[in-house]
């Protein structure tokens, strides 16, 4: 991508639009910027103070863009007193459109009611714009704080000039600067003078101490809430353009099959149909798979025509996956170690020989679909060699590259607008639907919206990989966990391990134990897999934390005490790396969750409490589930107590919402959601046979935060993984039944 992309986009704040175009030229002329620097954007008379900020090494792109500074924050203080803050990252429901501007507003001492949050366009100048890995907050925390502090410093400097007093004698609050006499000037009144002040050096700024926070840590409601509750057009699917036509795209039910021919003439004669054609595709399921496009004058006409479409598929290279066969193969393989040794440390064999107790167990879990409620869709218009796209994508910058590849257009001919996203969960990290509409738009003389049916969405997903773990654990004479081995059976797509399918060498409890062995077998898979909320962790947590409980039980120990002992001394395995387990933080959340849940209290028969801890996506989370199970294996999850340490909480309302949602999503997925495939085709198609939880099954969720001194990290993912093991450990406590297969419906449970 180059800066020309930005020049073609329209900004929601027209003044920033003009200023940024000047800024491009300004940067191009100088090209030399400090690693931490501000750009006080060239003012437009009457526009107030506008700042762009480029911060840290991540603010610089590699390769051809190395000279192009990337700003990760924009702030404009208008003379009318409005404070415009750009939200740069895609909003998928994780709340960044609210939480990221809150960080700027805090350091700026802006009154939140003066803040107007605008969704920024897509372009390399806006830093790395994506929604994934719970990374939006940790990657932008420093930049956003500095941006707010810089704007504040310039407003203070302007006031100091006006009053002719030293800047350090002034204080700020609620979008105003106060002097020691108690006089105040509003930010709006100061904006024009502030714009004429020199931009401060980043290193000269003093950031607030946490005790000074007025906004961060409070419950702030989402900036789009009013638009959402009144049904305003926000989402990708809501895009409407003059003269727009509607498309469906039909792909082979067995992944990788190619369209050879179709009853196109018949389809073209159907009511409302304007055109129908085959796209050869580029053979890459994440970009453009072969298929048949139907263009119609309404979504319904396109859907109806799709039902009449008959395609002859060449399945010579298509998937032939069979879940039944996979299950059988894995059970055979599980009887021995895997060929690939991922880790083998200490003396595992010795630990088993000297063990007081050993436990062997085989755990398996299912493929799962993302099933976001907004089915995949995208709108594009190809005109005069330019392609404009309206995309609900978690990786909009990546989408531009993929679209360039499939259309043959250079990136500067592609303008991409981001929309609000009706659920991501990792599905929209891939841009297949964006590529499809781009290729279709090149053949259509009008704006075109591609709309997938729910069935398409469920049967052409990139699934959470299933997995099989053959585990053996040892407990020594003193009742301590002394040895652990695991053979993981997972998958490859096109020869490469699937995303979220492999255990790393340092996956818990590898680092906590002296004697640890992990081997792996990869089965080739035609069904495509990809990141699903808390990739890897979403399933591994269930296996590891269930097995730890099995071992604690075998040793006759209290689960909590056993788990705390496994954590050992408080230590940070890779000091300074937020993605490395810190056992001190783990211990703290385990203690807090169990204390708040009343761990150890007497419960009636059929009722039990289960504990689990998992560290993922930089979040330390412990959960206690309280469940009851009746004689017919009907499960009720009464309450889940969550204790989490993600550092200081940015938006308490958003963080609590993510915790509640993570619990419901975790329970929904473990309960009955399962994707199976036979003859390469996914057998589930819609919410009648892939049935997510309803309101009556949602447990009470009580969330506690340990707001430690570490830098804040994301809340979108880490609460989900511990839920399944906490519930299964509670089922064991209630019934003595150890769940070893997910979803629970496989073992006869209902909810």
């Amino acid at each position: 991508m180059s800066q020309t992309v930005a020049k073609t986009v329209s900004y929601s704040d027209p003044i920033i639009d003009q200023i940024l175009q000047q800024a491009d030229a300004q940067w191009a002329a100088s090209m030399k910027v400090n690693r931490r620097s501000f750009l006080k954007l060239a003012g437009i008379a009457g526009s107030g103070l506008t700042l762009a900020f480029s911060f840290g090494p991540a603010a610089f792109a590699d390769g051809e863009d190395a000279q192009m500074p990337q700003f990760n924050a924009y702030v404009r203080v208008s003379p009318e007193g409005k404070i415009y803050i750009y939200a740069t990252n895609p909003e998928i429901g994780q709340g960044v459109k609210t939480s990221m501007p809150m960080i700027v507003a805090e350091e700026l001492d802006a009154a939140w009611e003066d803040v107007v949050v605008e969704q920024s366009p897509i372009g390399s100048q806006y830093g790395r714009q994506f929604a994934g890995g719970s990374l939006s907050i940790p990657m932008n925390w420093d930049a956003l704080r500095h941006a707010g502090a810089a704007a504040r410093a310039m407003l203070v400097a302007a006031a100091a000039k006006q009053w002719n007093v030293p800047a350090d004698s002034l204080r700020t609050e609620n979008s105003k600067v106060f002097n020691q006499l108690g006089d105040s000037l509003s930010y709006g009144d100061l904006a024009e003078v502030a714009a004429r002040q020199p931009a401060p050096a980043a290193d000269s700024l003093r950031l607030k101490d946490r005790s000074e926070y007025r906004l961060l840590g409070k419950r702030i409601t989402g900036v789009d809430n009013e638009e959402i509750v009144t049904g305003q057009p926000l989402f990708g699917i809501d895009t409407r353009l003059p003269g727009m036509v509607y498309a469906t795209y039909t792909k082979c039910p067995a992944f990788g099959g190619k369209a050879v021919s179709a009853n196109l003439d018949e389809v073209k004669r159907l009511p409302g149909v304007k055109d129908a054609f085959i796209l050869e595709g580029n053979g890459n399921l994440t970009e453009l798979a072969s298929g048949v496009a139907i263009i119609a004058n309404s979504t319904w006409a396109a859907f109806q025509a799709q039902k009449k479409l008959k395609v002859e598929w060449d399945k010579s290279e298509a998937s032939t996956d069979s879940w039944t066969e996979i299950v059988k193969t894995a059970a055979e393989l599980a009887k021995k170690d895997g060929d690939e040794v991922v880790e083998n440390k200490g003396d595992v064999d010795g630990a088993f020989q000297n063990a007081a107790k050993t436990v062997e167990s085989y755990y398996s879990y299912q493929f799962a679909s993302h099933a976001p409620l907004e089915p995949q869709n995208c709108t594009a218009h190809y005109k005069n060699g330019m392609l404009e796209v309206w995309a609900p994508s978690q990786t909009p910058q990546g989408a531009i590259g993929s679209v360039a590849k499939v259309t043959g257009l250079s990136a500067d001919k592609i303008k991409l607008n981001q929309t609000r996203i009706g659920g991501g969960f990792g599905r929209r990290l891939l841009n297949d639907y964006v590529c499809e509409v781009a290729a279709i738009a090149q053949k259509v003389d009008a704006p075109v919206k591609l709309q997938w049916t729910r069935e398409m969405d469920m049967q052409h997903d990139f699934y959470r990989p299933a997995g099989f773990h053959s585990l053996k654990g040892a407990v020594d004479q003193s009742g301590k966990l002394s040895g652990w081995q695991n053979h993981l059976i997972t998958f490859t797509n096109n020869g490469r391990p699937v995303s979220g399918g492999s255990l790393s060498k340092d996956e818990f409890p590898a680092l906590n134990l002296e004697n640890y062995k992990l081997t792996q077998t990869n089965l080739p898979l035609g069904t495509p897999c990809y990141a699903w909320r808390a990739p890897g962790a979403n399933a591994f947590a269930w296996v590891m934390q269930s097995f730890i409980h099995e071992l604690a039980t075998a040793a006759g120990r209290d689960h909590r005490e056993f788990l705390l002992e496994v954590m050992g001394e408080p230590r940070w395995f890779a000091e300074g790396n937020p993605r490395s387990l810190n056992t001190g933080r783990a211990i703290d959340v385990i203690k807090l969750a169990t204390e708040k849940a009343g761990w150890g209290k007497q419960l009636p028969a059929g009722r039990g409490m289960g504990l689990a801890f998992h560290f993922s996506h930089a979040g330390h989370v412990a959960e206690v589930a309280e469940v009851s199970v009746d004689a017919n294996k009907k499960l009720t999850v009464h309450k889940v107590t969550v204790a989490t340490d993600v550092g200081p909480v940015v938006n308490l309302s958003g963080a609590e919402n993510q915790a509640e949602g993570g619990i419901v999503d975790g329970l929904s997925t473990m309960m009955a959601l399962e994707i199976t495939m036979e003859n390469g085709e996914v057998q589930q198609s819609n919410y009648h046979n892939y049935r997510p939880l309803r309101i009556k099954n949602a447990p009470v969720v009580e969330t506690h935060f340990i707001q430690s001194e570490y830098s804040p990290t994301g809340m979108g993912e880490p609460v989900l993984p511990p839920l399944a093991p906490a519930v299964c450990n509670a089922i064991y406590a209630a019934t003595g039944h150890r769940v070893k297969t997910l979803p629970l419906s496989k073992e006869g449970f209902t909810i």
Binding site: R219, W300, L373
Partner: protein
């Protein structure tokens, strides 16, 4: 292709050039531009498409537009009588910060509004029954429940 005469959000509409079997959802979204009503499943499983016909909640993805003949349809856009105002239910949704992605919430609000009209003081079990047709992929159920209780109080004139 007959004409369907209906009232949508208080405004008379003569819908032409549409097959009467077309789901109301797609007439609202594609023909009338009322995109607040959402497509989620097309088989009346998720409730994202919920609208009111003569005050009763229906799944517009599985209701032919012909069913609106001579009737009054209310969508999320027409829920508040005055433009720019919010109903008690919408207000509660904002205050409880219910939405995550927000995609299902129009349907949730339409179902909740119908519930409170029929039952101004619903129990948790009443809420479970009335809201069971609305799926939230983000799992905002605890907040939906709290918002309904709070809207019910507000509508009864009690302090929320």
């Amino acid at each position: 292709m007959s004409t369907i005469n209906t009232t949508i959000n208080g405004k008379s509409e003569a819908i032409q050039d549409v097959d009467p079997s077309t789901p109301l959802l797609w007439v609202l979204r594609d023909h009338l531009g009322l995109v607040g009503t959402k497509y989620g499943c097309g088989i009346a499983q998720c409730g994202a498409c919920t609208v009111h016909i003569d005050g009763s909640p229906v799944r517009s993805c599985s209701t032919p537009v012909s069913a609106a003949q001579g009737k009054s349809v209310t969508t999320i856009e027409g829920l508040a009588v005055n433009v720019g105002a919010l109903t008690a239910v919408q207000q509660a949704w904002v205050e409880h910060d219910v939405p995550q992605c927000g995609y299902c919430q129009a349907g949730q609000i339409m179902s909740a509004t119908a519930l409170l009209k029929a039952n101004p003081n619903p129990s948790d079990a009443d809420i479970d029954a009335a809201m069971s047709g609305n799926f939230c992929r983000c799992g905002t159920y605890p907040r939906i429940r709290a918002a309904i209780h709070s809207a019910a109080k507000a509508q009864r004139g009690e302090k929320a």
